[in-house]
Symmetry: C2
Subunit: 391 residues, 2 copies
């Protein structure tokens, strides 16, 4: 433990307040998020000097709003993900005049949290395409819930035959009676493996089953996933809890982790920060988000910001794949590639199934069209140099 010049990190909050009381409001926020008591009741110099969060700056942010940056002592997080979330937004989640907008981790935090094990390049290596010119990965979802393992396996085989890179469970397929985790994962993984062989060449397809439940159940699911040789896992960090992502899933998965934003919406934390930066620091290798123009309401700037936070340089922490989703279709592939470049995973779910009478040919045709569209649009982007430049 350092005694001098301890590490600190910054976090910026959008606070609704009047000019005349913003100073007091900012100071109250600093206390609420650190010692949760009046400063004049603090009797220890150490606490006053090293523990209390400080108001680093207050900037106007439009009518009746200010951006307040607090400086936190890193030691107050215990270098643990849940307690970091607590320091950032624990009590003030209960104060509707406050939104968390940005967070600048210091090196100590970045080193202490696991970060992605695989990241962008890890996905490519897992698919055996890391030697080729980079292209977007394709992803789809097994759905709906309620089907038997065998039905889901047949659908998975269809997608694998089409050459989709990553086939994930719908995040609503958890561990229900209709398709318990163990038999489902065994059946789907077997079907995917057979279909990839059938497709031939060097086709690799990664299956990402949904992990869910408490630690004991998760550990058992991770064991099944390892035993069956699945290539990835899907997890909802805001449902399982970020400490569980960090300490259990990230440590034991051994394959790339796909983070799903269920329950992560509108918590008054900027989406780019939560889905882009924090999930990345906590160990996700790809982060699904609701793309603009689909069933959800994030705008284009928000989606770009999520992709930026996922991929921008962050000390030693590997970039991860942004995964635009939520009502996307093959007709948007070209546009999404222009928007997000090659380091992206494109997820089309329901549209590949819509209108299908049986999970047979028509699904295969649509999935194949999706895969081909991505390869075609990606190749033409490379040849024309039209890819939007990323840092």
């Amino acid at each position: 433990m350092r005694n001098h010049d301890p590490e600190r990190f910054g976090a910026t909050y959008r606070v609704r307040a009047d000019q005349r009381n913003i100073q007091a409001r900012a100071q109250a926020l600093a206390l609420e998020q650190s010692i949760e008591m009046p400063l004049d009741a603090v009797t220890q110099d150490f606490v006053r000097d090293r523990i209390v969060a400080r108001v680093a700056s207050i900037e106007p942010a439009g009518a009746g709003a200010f951006d307040v940056t607090l400086s936190f002592a890193t030691s107050t997080t215990g270098l643990e993900a849940g307690q970091l979330m607590n320091m950032l937004f624990g009590n003030c989640s209960l104060q509707p005049d406050v939104e968390l907008r940005a967070f600048e981790p210091d090196g100590e935090l970045l080193r202490a949290l696991p970060g992605p094990r695989f990241g962008v390049q890890g996905w490519r290596r897992a698919l055996g395409i890391d030697g080729a010119p980079p292209r977007p990965l394709t992803c789809t979802a097994l759905k709906p819930q309620g089907q038997s393992p065998q039905q889901l396996a047949e659908l998975a085989a269809t997608f694998a035959l089409a050459g989709i890179d990553v086939i994930k469970d719908d995040h609503g397929i958890a561990d229900q009676d209709s398709a318990r985790f163990a038999p489902r994962v065994a059946a789907v993984q077997k079907a995917i493996r057979q279909a990839a062989r059938e497709r031939g060449g060097d086709t690799r397809v990664l299956y990402a089953p949904t992990l869910s439940g408490g630690p004991r159940r998760l550990r058992e699911q991770l064991r099944v996933a390892r035993d069956e040789g699945v290539g990835a896992v899907l997890v909802c960090p805001m449902l399982c809890g970020v400490p569980t992502l960090v300490e259990l899933v990230r440590e034991e998965a051994g394959v790339p982790i796909l983070a799903h934003p269920a329950f992560a919406g509108n918590v008054r934390i900027a989406p780019d920060l939560l889905l882009g930066r924090l999930f990345r620091m906590f160990g996700a290798d790809a982060t699904i988000f609701p793309n603009f123009g689909g069933r959800f309401s994030y705008d284009r700037a928000t989606c770009r910001a999520i992709a930026d936070r996922a991929r921008e340089p962050l000390e030693h922490v590997a970039p991860i794949l942004p995964v635009p989703a939520g009502g996307m279709g093959t007709e948007r592939v070209g546009e999404m590639i222009r928007e997000f470049g090659s380091d992206v995973m494109l997820l089309i779910g329901g549209q590949l199934l819509a209108g299908a009478v049986t999970p047979g040919d028509s699904v295969l045709a649509r999935a194949t069209a999706f895969v081909e569209r991505v390869r075609h649009d990606s190749a033409s982007m490379h040849s024309t140099g039209a890819e939007r430049h990323h840092e």
Copy 2:
């Protein structure tokens, strides 16, 4: 698994929409929260009949708003807490026109989720006051973080000498260098035990240390808590994840669980539902909430509703203690007792410390005044029969 008439539960959402599109919006919500795909792409009758959520009713709820009640198949939850949250509010957390207002669990869910092990009567038994006329319990918090175990232990001894029933860690005191969990819990528990002996009579004081982190760390903390004989634990369900509360903390704590609302604010889930009903179903024995008129913005009706959900009859599920908090002071004890009755735990934190020069006499005097005020006001309420009637 039943094949006919499967169990279902209801959930009510406040949806912002126009009269002319509320039917379509409600139907889209039902799909989003169950199968996450167009209904016409569902090829299996079983899924259509047994899995898809149904729109049970749509009621006007003021200008531009409707209360949409969906009926869910209980089987879609897998009878697991995280997946229940997912079905209730996973994807639609990302749709800002939707708020979750109410949830009526069916018997199967209530039996499958653990519920409180101790509840209101369990707290009284643990304190050895279950034979006496019911009175509110007193609670305070060890703070601020940054103090050493010895400093926290001295403060705890002061509170215990004053006869406070439950002494909890501030929820920001996690597992930091300044006071690691194991030495802190040992020191505080020892100090509390000695002080209770010193105070004499049949004084019992329960210490509730903050549990934090991922499953491995939590399991180790639970072991320490058991070994040291602590009387309760504090946990933040929205930070550790509700599946971890259900499967790990509820199963292994062996003592009453105090739930803290950190990170639970303004997620567009009605506070009475989340803090009152759901935390209770997931195993909390008491639920802290920010009382009206303090540092937070919940109004009186919201606070009453939280207390109602915590204590109302719910099949076999024991009632739990509401814990109004967040800037309360001794001067509000009488009012809080009139508001919430005897089945309540009154939490006063910072005010007992404010203005203290050393954690000595003045803190002791304030804490003693708090304890005496509760006993006095509670006794006079009993003698005048002035307690607000609860179901």
